[in-house]
C-alpha cells in the first residue's frame, strides 16, 4: 500500500495470531512474534516487506502466487513465507540471489498476461502488481503470443487482424459502485477469500481451472448485481490490481491523503478512512484499526455517501409565516432571529413549557448535548426527547433496572468467544451487517445459533451458517417466549446458582424463581399463544444454559412492543440465571439502530434525565449544571415526543426545534404526528433535506453531514469514536454551530469554538465520561465508557466483578398481551423491519445508488394468505389497520409465517407508519411498531391518504426564488 495512508496501516500479509512468543532471525534481525505467525508477518514486524501478491492480512494465507518465497536454513527448497509458520531459532533469508531470480521469473509470467497500460490504468500508483514488478526488478517479458495460435492472453479484446480473442471478457459494470474488469485479473483469489472469510457471503468463486480460471460472481451467467453479492466492498478492498475498482476512483483518480472518521449509518460505528484527492472525497475505505469493524464495511458506509452532494440538499436557511406559504430563502441572521423571536413569543404567550426540542441520534454527542442544553438552559424546561424514544428506550430502562447501566455489556469483539448466540428480534445481516459478518465468522467456527424472530431471517439459514433452533413466534409474544425459556432453565435446574448467589439479590431471585416456575409459563402452556413448538423452545433454552459462553444480541424486535421493557428485563434475567455476564463471549447486547443513538441517550436527551442517565429530580445533579450554566433547572421531567404531539393537538405545546430527525415518517401513527405538527406555531427543522416533517415547518435550518464536522459518535458497544471534518460544511456551519447561534439569538451567551470544548464540559459534568477528552481519543483511537479515574482507558466489558447497580436484580416478567389484537376485520399481524441497502427513513440512502437494490417498500406475505386474497407476486395491495391504510406491492414468501405480513419503512410514498398504532411500551412509550393488526386486499393504486399527502408535500416544498 502507498504511504499516503497512515504509516502503521501497512499490510502485514497474514492475520495476527495469539500465542506464546517465538524468536527467530530474519535477514540477521531477531524478531519475536506469537506462535502460529507466518514468516511473512514476522518479517513485516521486523520492517522487512517480502514481495507478495496473493497474501493480505485480512484473509488467511493461500500460498498461490509463489512470489513470497524465502530460504530457511536447514530446510530444503524455497517455501512460501505466507504459509510457513515461524519456529524458534529459525534463520530466514528473504533476499538471496536465488530468490530474486525466482521472483523475477514468477513476475515475468504474471506480466505476460497483464496489459501494460499502467499510465492510464485506474490503479496507477495504487497497484500491488505494479509495486511488485518494481520490487523484483522486472525489466523484460520474454513470453510472446504463439505465432499461429491466437493470443493466449486474457487482456486483448482482438488481435492485430481484428479477430476476437475468446479468452477476453468485457468489464462487468452492473454494480453501481465498483467495476469488475477481468482483463486485469491475476487470479490471486483475494476477492473470493475476502467474500468468504471477511464478509461471509460466499458470492464469488474461481470458475474453471488453469489458464481458464476466472473470478465469477454467482453461477454461470450471473453478473455482480445478479449474484449474491451484498456490495460490502471487501473484495474491492482486497484486490491488488484495478480488476475490482471503485467507480469513483476510475472517475476521479487515486487519493493523496486520508482522514480517519466514523460512519454515520448504523450503531456498529465503523471507522473509515475518508480518502481525498485535493479537496474532493474520492473513496471511503474501512479502517483496519477501527475497533468496531476491524477493516470491514457494508454497502452503506463504504459507498452510500453521495447524499452529501445530492441536488436535493438544502444549503440556505429558509422561513415562512405559515406552512401553506412557499419557503423563502433568507440569511442565517434573519432565519435565526425569526426563529428566536417566535419561540420567545410563544413562551411569553403560552408559558415556558410550551416549546421543546428533539435531539438527533445521527448528530454528534457534542451536538446532542447542546440541543438538550438549549432546552434546559435556554428554554428553561425539560422538553427534550430523541428518536431513541421510538427504538431503544426500553433498553435504557430495562437494563438500567436490572444491571444498573443503560447500555450493552460487551464489545463487538466479544462475539469471537461466544459458544451459543441468541439473536432475538434483530436481523443483523441487514441492520448491522458488519457485526453480522463477525458473528457469522464465529458461527462458521462452530458456535451455535438460536434465532427468535417471526421471520426466517437470513441468519436462520445462509451459506455455511444455520441456526440450531429458530423459534418463529407470533409478533407480540416476546415476553411469553423469553419467560418460557427462563421457566425451562429454572425448572430443569440449569441455572448457575453460584453466580446468582454471589452476584444477584438472592431473595429477589427466590421470588422470581417461584413466579417463573409456575406451569403457566411453561413452553407447553404458552405454545398456543406464541405459536412456538415447545420441544424446540426447551431445546433452545437447554442449549443456551449449558452450551458454554452464551451471548444474547437483540434489536428493535424486542423493544418496539407494548411490553418492550419487560422483554429487555426478561433477557437480562436469562443472562443472570445462566451467569452469562461479565466476561468475554457472553452478555446482553442491544444492536442499536442509529449511529449515535447510544450517545444521544447518554447525553441527556430524555426529558427525565440529565447527561449520564441522572434523574432531573436529583437536586445534587441539577446543581452541577445550575452552577456551571448559571440557570435554574426545572426539577420536573419534561414531555416525551408523543406527549409533545398530544399537547400540541390540545393547544398547550406550540414550538419545536427538531434536529436531524424525521418524526413524521419515522414515528407511529403518521396522521396523529401530522395533526400535532400542524397545530404548532413554530416548527424548526434542522436537516440536510426537506424531509417529511419539514412539510409542517416554519423555519428550515440546513444541516451539515458527518463529513463536514468534528465531534464524536458513541456506538452500540459504548465506544466513543471520533468524527473528523473531511470537507468544509456546504451549508456554511457545522450543526453544533447552528444550535449555538440559535441559543445565542435567544439570549444565551455560548462561546464554544470547537467540539473539543463541548466534550470538556461533558467530561466535567458526567461521571461516566470524566476521563474522555479529544487528546485521549487521538491517542487510543476510541474509548468505551465508563471512562474515568476507575477506568482510565475505558471499559470494554461491563459488570466484570459486580453489577453497576451492586447486585443484579431479577424482575418479574408477567406477559400481558398487547391491546392490538387481530379480529375478523384485521386478521393479519404486520411487523416491520429494514433491509441492507436502505437506512431508516431512507433520507440518505434513497439519495444514493443504493436504490438499485430496493426501489420501493414491499409487503411480504405468505403464499397461503396471498392465495385466499387473490394476491399474486407484484400485485398492488391495500394494507389497512385501525389507524389508516396505504398501498404497496406484495411479494409472496414463506419467510413469514401464515398470519404474519412484513414490510420496511424506507420510502415516504409508502408511509408504513400510517398503519401503525399509537400503542406503546408501558414504561417508556416506545411505540409498538412491530405489531399491528391489518387486513390486506387487492388494490388499484395509492390510497386517499397517499394522494392527499403527496399533494400537501408538493405544496409545502415550494421554494420562492431568492430575492435579489
Amino acid at each position: 500500500m502507498k504511504d499516503f495512508i497512515i504509516p502503521d496501516d501497512r499490510d502485514m500479509g497474514t492475520p495476527a495470531r495469539v500465542g506464546a512468543p517465538v524468536t527467530l532471525e530474519i535477514d540477521g534481525i531477531a524478531v519475536t512474534v506469537p506462535a502460529g505467525t507466518s514468516v511473512m508477518r514476522a518479517a513485516a514486524e521486523a520492517g522487512i516487506q517480502i514481495p507478495k501478491l496473493c497474501a493480505t492480512d485480512s484473509v488467511e494465507a493461500f500460498g498461490s502466487c509463489r512470489l513470497c518465497l524465502v530460504e530457511i536454513e536447514g530446510r530444503r527448497g524455497t517455501p512460501a513465507s505466507c504459509t510457513t509458520p515461524v519456529a524458534p531459532g529459525m534463520v530466514v533469508n528473504t533476499g538471496t540471489s536465488r530468490l530474486r531470480k525466482l521472483r523475477r521469473g514468477v513476475m515475468e509470467l504474471y506480466i505476460s498476461d497483464h496489459p501494460l497500460d499502467c499510465l492510464t490504468c485506474s490503479a496507477n500508483g495504487d497497484c500491488e502488481l505494479q509495486d511488485m514488478a518494481g520490487a523484483v526488478g522486472l525489466r523484460d517479458v520474454r513470453y510472446e503470443a504463439p505465432e499461429n495460435g491466437g493470443l493466449a492472453n486474457h487482456f486483448e479484446a482482438r488481435n492485430t487482424s481484428g479477430e476476437a480473442n475468446p479468452a477476453w471478457m468485457p468489464k462487468d459494470d452492473s454494480n453501481p459502485y465498483f467495476s469488475y474488469d477481468p482483463s486485469k485479473c491475476i487470479v490471486c483469489s483475494r476477492c473470493v477469500r475476502a467474500c468468504e472469510e471477511v464478509q461471509g457471503t460466499f458470492a464469488l468463486t474461481i470458475e474453471g481451472r488453469g489458464f481458464d480460471s476466472r473470478v465469477s460472481a454467482g453461477g454461470a451467467g450471473d453478473d455482480f448485481l445478479g449474484s449474491d453479492c451484498v456490495s460490502c466492498g471487501a473484495c474491492v478492498q482486497a484486490c491488488p490490481t484495478a480488476t475490482l475498482q471503485e467507480k469513483s476512483i476510475i472517475e476521479m483518480g487515486t487519493p493523496d491523503r486520508s482522514v480517519v472518521t466514523t460512519c454515520a449509518y448504523c450503531g456498529v460505528g465503523c471507522s473509515f478512512k475518508a480518502e481525498m484527492n485535493g479537496d474532493q472525497l474520492v473513496r471511503m475505505t474501512p479502517y483496519k484499526h477501527g475497533k468496531a469493524n476491524s477493516g470491514h464495511s457494508c454497502v452503506k458506509g463504504r459507498f452510500a455517501y453521495g447524499y452529501a452532494h445530492h441536488k436535493d440538499r438544502i444549503l440556505s436557511p429558509m422561513i415562512r409565516e405559515r406552512i401553506s406559504d412557499p419557503w423563502r430563502e433568507v440569511s442565517w441572521e434573519e432565519a435565526l432571529s425569526f426563529a428566536a423571536s417566535r419561540l420567545r413569543g410563544l413562551q411569553a404567550e403560552y408559558g415556558q413549557k410550551s416549546i421543546g426540542v428533539i435531539t438527533s441520534s445521527r448528530c454528534t454527542n457534542e451536538e446532542t448535548y447542546l440541543v438538550q442544553k438549549l432546552a434546559r438552559a435556554v428554554f428553561g424546561n425539560n422538553n427534550t426527547d430523541t428518536c431513541a424514544r421510538v427504538c431503544h428506550s426500553p433498553t435504557g430502562y430495562g437494563l438500567g433496572q436490572t444491571f444498573g447501566t443503560s447500555a450493552g455489556t460487551q464489545d463487538f469483539a466479544s462475539v469471537d468467544h461466544a459458544d451459543v448466540v441468541i439473536v432475538i428480534g434483530a436481523n443483523p445481516t441487514d441492520g448491522h451487517p458488519v457485526f453480522a459478518s463477525r458473528l457469522k465468522k464465529r458461527l462458521r467456527a462452530g458456535a451455535k445459533l438460536i434465532v427468535i424472530d417471526p421471520r426466517r431471517i437470513d441468519l436462520v439459514k445462509s451459506p455455511h451458517v444455520e441456526a440450531s433452533h429458530h423459534l418463529p413466534l407470533r409478533p407480540g409474544t416476546n415476553v411469553a417466549v423469553v419467560s418460557a425459556m427462563a421457566h425451562v432453565i429454572v425448572t430443569e435446574g440449569l441455572m448457575n446458582e453460584d453466580f446468582i448467589r454471589t452476584r444477584c439479590d438472592w431473595d429477589e431471585f427466590q421470588h422470581y424463581a417461584e413466579f417463573i416456575s409456575d406451569p403457566r409459563h411453561s413452553p407447553e402452556a404458552t405454545a398456543m399463544l406464541t405459536g412456538v413448538d415447545p420441544e424446540e423452545l426447551r431445546a433452545a433454552a437447554r442449549l443456551y444454559a449449558t452450551g458454554g459462553n452464551g451471548a444474547i444480541y437483540y434489536g428493535l424486535g424486542v423493544t418496539e412492543h407494548s411490553q418492550g421493557s419487560t422483554t429487555v428485563m426478561g433477557i437480562a434475567n436469562l443472562a443472570m440465571l445462566t451467569g452469562n455476564i461479565g466476561r468475554p463471549g457472553v452478555g446482553v447486547n442491544p444492536l442499536r439502530g442509529q449511529n449515535n443513538v447510544q450517545g444521544a441517550c447518554d447525553m441527556g436527551s430524555f426529558p427525565h434525565e440529565l447527561p449520564g442517565y441522572r434523574h432531573v429530580k436529583g437536586a445534587e445533579v441539577r446543581s452541577i449544571y445550575e452552577s456551571l450554566w448559571g440557570v435554574e433547572i426545572d426539577p420536573e421531567p419534561g414531555l416525551r415526543i408523543p406527549n409533545m404531539l398530544d399537547a400540541a393537538v390540545d393547544g398547550s405545546f406550540k414550538g419545536l426545534y427538531c434536529q436531524g430527525e424525521d418524526i413524521l415518517q419515522s414515528d407511529p401513527d403518521t396522521k396523529h404526528v401530522a395533526a400535532g405538527l400542524a397545530a404548532m406555531e413554530c416548527v424548526i427543522v434542522h436537516d440536510l433535506f426537506l424531509n417529511e416533517t419539514a412539510n409542517y415547518a416554519h423555519v428550515f435550518l440546513p444541516g451539515s453531514t458527518f463529513l463536514e464536522k468534528d465531534g464524536t459518535f458513541t456506538n452500540a458497544e459504548r465506544r466513543i469514536n471520533r468524527v473528523r471534518r473531511v470537507i468544509p460544511p456546504r451549508n456554511g456551519y457545522a450543526d453544533w454551530e447552528i444550535t449555538q447561534m440559535l441559543a445565542n439569538a435567544m439570549g444565551a451567551n455560548w462561546s464554544y469554538a470547537h467540539p473539543a470544548q463541548i466534550m470538556e464540559e461533558i467530561a466535567l459534568t458526567t461521571p461516566s465520561f470524566a476521563g474522555v477528552d479529544y487528546a485521549l481519543l487521538e491517542e487510543k483511537g476510541s474509548v468505551q465508557w465508563p471512562c474515568n479515574a476507575e477506568h482510565p482507558e475505558g471499559t470494554p466489558l461491563m459488570h466484570v466483578d459486580g453489577f453497576m447497580r451492586g447486585q443484579g436484580r431479577f424482575i418479574i416478567t408477567e406477559y400481558v398481551p398487547t391491546d392490538e389484537k387481530t379480529g375478523p376485520r384485521f386478521p393479519l399481524l404486520l411487523t416491520t423491519g429494514r433491509i441492507l441497502s436502505q437506512y431508516n427513513v431512507g433520507a440518505q440512502t434513497r439519495r444514493t445508488d443504493n436504490v438499485v437494490w430496493h426501489e420501493e417498500d414491499l409487503l411480504e406475505i405468505h403464499p397461503h394468505d396471498a392465495e385466499v386474497r387473490g394476491v399474486a407476486e407484484g400485485d398492488w395491495v391495500r394494507l389497512a389497520s385501525r389507524s389508516g391504510e396505504t398501498t404497496l406491492r406484495a411479494t409472496l414468501t414463506d419467510r413469514v409465517s401464515p398470519g404474519v405480513v412484513y414490510t420496511t419503512f424506507h420510502h415516504p410514498d409508502t408511509q408504513a407508519n400510517v398503519i401503525t398504532t399509537d400503542f406503546s411500551d408501558w414504561a417508556t412509550n416506545c411505540p409498538e411498531y412491530k405489531v399491528t393488526a391489518v387486513q390486506v386486499s387487492l388494490s388499484n393504486g395509492p390510497s386517499e391518504w397517499q394522494e392527499d399527502y403527496a399533494e400537501q408535500a408538493a405544496l409545502a416544498r415550494r421554494i420562492l426564488p431568492a430575492a435579489e
Partner: protein, 156 residues
C-alpha cells in the same frame, strides 16, 4: 440426447443417499451425472440448499472439473488425447481429421446424437500413442483408419 427433465424427487433421492458422507458434493455430482448424463440445472438450488453452500461455490466446483456436463452428451463419448506424447506421435493430426470428418468442434456432438468428441490430457497410454477412449474403452495406436472403424461402430 433428449432425456426428459429430471424430476425433483429423483434428484432429492440422489441427494439423500449421499448427505451422510463427509464432503458429499463430488459424490453427489458424480451420481447425478451417472443418473442423468449431466448435472441438471434444476439440481443446483437443491444441492446448494441441502449442503448450505452458495451457488458461486457450486459453480466453482462444477466448472473446475471438465467431465461434469451441463447438458447430456451423445450416445457415445470419444476422447482423443492431446497430451505431449500423443501430439508427438500424430495425435494432433488425428484429432483435426476426426473433428473435420464429423463436422464438429471440441465438445461438439454429431447432429444425429451418436458421438460427442472431447479432448483428454493423457490416458496413461503414452507408449501406445496416439491414444483415444471410446466410452469406457481405452485404445492405443489409433490412426485415421482405425478411428473410422470406431466411428462407424458408434454410428456417427
Amino acid at each position: 440426447m433428449s432425456s426428459p427433465t429430471p424430476a425433483t424427487e429423483d434428484i432429492q433421492t440422489i441427494l439423500a443417499e449421499h448427505l451422510h458422507l463427509e464432503g458429499p458434493l463430488l459424490p453427489i455430482l458424480h451420481a447425478l451425472q451417472e443418473a442423468f448424463g449431466h448435472i441438471p440445472k434444476a439440481a443446483h438450488p437443491l444441492i446448494t440448499d441441502a449442503l448450505n453452500i452458495s451457488r458461486a461455490e457450486l459453480h466453482g466446483v462444477i466448472s473446475f472439473y471438465h467431465d461434469f456436463r451441463d447438458k447430456p452428451a451423445g450416445r457415445h463419448v470419444l476422447k482423443i488425447c492431446r497430451a505431449e506424447a500423443c501430439q508427438s506421435m500424430g495425435g494432433t493430426v488425428l484429432a483435426e481429421a476426426t473433428l473435420a470428418k464429423l463436422g464438429v468442434a471440441w465438445h461438439g456432438t454429431t447432429p444425429n446424437g451418436a458421438v460427442t468428441v472431447e479432448p483428454v490430457y493423457c490416458l496413461g497410454l503414452c507408449a501406445c500413442a496416439p491414444a483415444a477412449m471410446l466410452d469406457d474403452r481405452v485404445l492405443g495406436r489409433v490412426d485415421e483408419e482405425r478411428m473410422g472403424k470406431l466411428l462407424a461402430e458408434a454410428g456417427a
